[in-house]
Amino acid sequence: MAGLRLFNFSQQLLELSMRVRGARHEILSANIANADTPGYRPRDIDFAATMRTTVEMDDTAAGSREQQMERLLASPLDLQPIVYEPGMTNNQHGEDRLDGNGVSLDQQLALLNENALSYEASLTLFSRTLASLRYAIGEGRR
């Protein structure tokens, strides 16, 4: 059976989303750690945009979308955060203080919790797909 693989496309997508969410968790933790550092600018990863550009499949490339995705996931992702400079539009990171620090503690904590919940959601979904796989392996026996 050609093209049979253990993990399907949606599981690969879940892995990707957890990796991006994990990187975002790191970035937001670093923002909170630097909430009192003069001149520090908040950083963030745009989850939706990152997923969109990463998942955009090249129709001319060889292989099915699962194979393309497999190649993508096998190497480290290059996740560069956006640094929010003063006066940037689309800045959801709060007001700038006089010392040049742009981190708002409440906003960062809210973003961090939202991100952590989304991470757990992906994790739960992934665990469910594993459970159904285990069900199939056990030929339907519990």
């Binding site: 968790h25 790191e26 550092t37 520090y40 290059d78 640094v83 665990s127």
Partner: protein, 150 residues
Amino acid sequence: MDLFKMFAISGAAMSAQRSRMSVISGNLANTETTRTPEGGPYRRRDVIFQTTPLGGEFPDLLADTMLDRSEGLLSVEVAGIKQSSRAPRKIFDPNHPDANPEGYVLLPDINVMEEMVDLLSAVRSYEANLTVYNATKGLVRRLLEIGNAP
């Protein structure tokens, strides 16, 4: 996602806030101190925070080959403790043992209210980092449970 890097960031931040708290308690303890080893009244001290790239030997080697890259991950450290240049308060008290010939005593210019507000702000920042630490711990715990039979 490098799990232990995240704990290191929150840990460094908590340690930095703790140093800030010790410096503030030092200031509060010395509001009336007129004698110091360097002479003259105590001078108010202030911590300086600076960003620092996360360092580590083995994790970095590993990160180059295996882990997702995201540049600009900065931790925090205490760059130094600065003495304030504020002029001391002058109080007229000729009976004080440290009074100068004109009868004035030089006391540290420490505003207790200001120190208390700074202390509260340090405690809040510490708590925020503790919250992050616990959130990370929760995520890692869930991650380790992946594939466990429900």
